[in-house]
């Protein structure tokens, strides 16, 4: 039913309505091939980092602030989960199997892939004007009035208008920019700040964050923020129409009016 209703929304001029125009859609995909490929590489990497990061955390689910922290010092907080080492008092009377070896190796190898893929995305995005054209919001869209309208429609889980099949709404643009230019750099920075060898060459990496344990705590919270983003992202895709959004990100094609009817 919802699908039929959505057809009632007037389509903007640029949406092809005839079979001939489908060729035009193919020629100019919703997302460029580079965006699509890097998107899915980063997606796979995110889940590898999430699983391996979780495995690393359970070997010591306590967090501290400052340079050092261990079971003899007061933590900032401790996650209420069992641990994979008996050193940590968790309140559970069992110890999970140690998975730290492969988790660390997978985490660092995946981090390399993320960083290299991210660099490719950043450089090509800068050259093609992707950030300026697709992600930078219009000044007029940044007014409180305009933003609050978008936020309200998100809170109602309203299905977005067809125009959004071709461009991002301002809230989406701001979120993506925040993830790309704040959360990702921060998670990479705080990760490097935990590397003893890296900080021996670049000590400011860790001192600016307040110490090695602070870096670990920041890394944890930024990862949580990224997880939250991914969860909201998936919910929004479902609200907007899972199949169509997936197709746009996999093949680049946007459903035509005819296809939507069928």
């Amino acid at each position: 039913m919802a699908r039929l209703e959505s057809v009632q929304v007037p389509l903007p001029d640029c949406v092809p309505t005839s079979a001939a125009a489908i060729a035009a859609t193919t020629a100019s995909p919703r997302h460029s091939a580079l965006v699509r490929v890097t998107h899915w590489i980063i997606t796979l990497c995110f889940f590898a980092l999430l699983v391996s990061g979780f495995e690393i955390v359970i070997s010591h689910p306590r967090f501290y602030w400052g340079e050092t922290g261990n079971v003899l010092t007061t933590p900032l907080f401790q996650l209420p989960i069992p641990a994979s080492r008996s050193l940590v008092e968790t309140g559970y009377n069992y110890v999970l199997p140690d998975q730290n070896g492969w988790s660390r190796s997978l985490h660092f190898q995946t981090a390399w892939i993320v960083v290299l893929t991210g660099l490719l995305y950043l450089v090509s995005g800068a050259f093609t004007g992707h950030f300026r054209k697709d992600l930078l919001p219009n000044k007029s869209d940044l007014s409180w009035r305009s933003l609050s309208t978008t936020i309200a429609s998100h809170l109602r889980f309203a299905r977005p208008g067809a125009a959004e099949a071709w461009s991002y709404n301002p809230l989406q643009r701001l979120s993506y920019l925040f993830v790309i230019f704040v959360l990702f750099p921060l998670v990479i920075w705080s990760g490097l700040a935990m590397s003893l060898a890296f900080v021996s060459a670049f000590p400011a990496t860790v001192t600016l964050l307040g110490g090695e344990q602070s870096a670990r705590t920041i890394h944890f919270f930024v990862s949580l923020a990224l997880l939250l983003f991914v969860l909201v992202h998936i919910v929004m895709i479902c609200v907007a129409g899972f199949k169509r959004r997936m197709r746009a990100m996999i093949t680049g094609a946007v459903a035509t009016r005819k296809e939507e009817r069928s």
Partner: protein
């Protein structure tokens, strides 16, 4: 086959050959300059190699961060460890007077050092952090002699590539490359915070490597071998850790 497709085929063939060849050259160069870790063969070999090579290039001569005296942890955490061996307990009952560190392999003068002899070499201290790969850490003042003094005394031969160091429990062994072996902060540590190095922290003798996580700092070191071929040791992965799924290089 049309001319166009033949030309395309030729071009892609030449490009592929050039790609493979340059990868081969890169691998040879990396091997020559010691940028490939002994455990590069696993499914995580790409990541291990990228990390080791990059950090080796960036950090060859960098010094681990040193801290102020007031930043020293009030209680240096003694991590859990396997039960002490009978051989260890026997030496402990004698106040470690008979503790020996044997150094052999590619050296001009193989030797066996008592703790007293090691203490006759220049004594240095560093206030550095011991960070465990699990996520916890502490700061302590480590006292000992830089490994390079002992290596000087035995005279390492020019073809040396790795130093293998083994705990009194022979299953507990590690290795480092020459950049780490000759690094001024790589210590044979016998003291901590002004006193003897406690057994719980690796006393009487621990190889202290502050630019890598804790498991590379092997406790109770009794034997060292200088080698040009790490494949001869254990399963050839560089140390006991990769055999248990951990990385040989642990600067991250």
């Amino acid at each position: 086959m049309t001319d166009l497709s033949r030309r395309k085929l030729l071009i892609s063939g030449v490009a592929a050959t050039a790609g493979v060849a340059s990868l081969g050259v890169a691998a040879r160069l990396a091997q020559k300059y010691g940028l490939i870790p002994p455990d590069h063969g696993s499914i995580y070999g790409l990541g291990e190699t990228l990390t080791y090579a990059t950090q080796r290039l960036l950090t060859k001569h960098s010094l681990a961060r040193e801290f102020r005296r007031d930043q020293i942890s009030k209680r240096p955490l003694a991590n859990e460890m396997p039960p002490l061996t009978d051989a260890f307990k026997h030496l402990q009952s004698g106040g470690f007077a008979d503790w020996r560190l044997t150094v052999d392999g590619l050296v001009d003068r193989p030797a066996s050092f008592s703790l007293a002899q090691l203490k006759s070499y220049p004594c240095h201290s560093q206030i550095t952090q011991l960070a465990c790969e699990e996520g916890w850490s502490y700061i302590a003042e480590w006292i000992g002699t830089p490994l390079l003094h002992v290596l000087d005394a035995v005279g390492i031969q020019p073809q040396a590539r790795y130093i293998v160091y083994i705990s009194i429990d022979p299953d507990w062994w590690e290795s480092i490359d020459m950049a780490d072996a000759l690094h001024p902060q790589t210590f044979l540590a016998y003291g901590m915070n002004g006193g003897d190095l406690p057994v719980g922290n690796g006393g009487p003798l621990r190889l202290r490597l502050p630019r890598q996580v804790g498991y590379k700092s092997v406790k109770f070191v009794t034997h060292m071998t200088v080698t040009d071929n790490i494949k001869k040791f254990g399963k050839g992965l560089g140390s006991a850790e990769p055999e248990a799924g951990y990385a040989w290089y642990a600067g991250i």
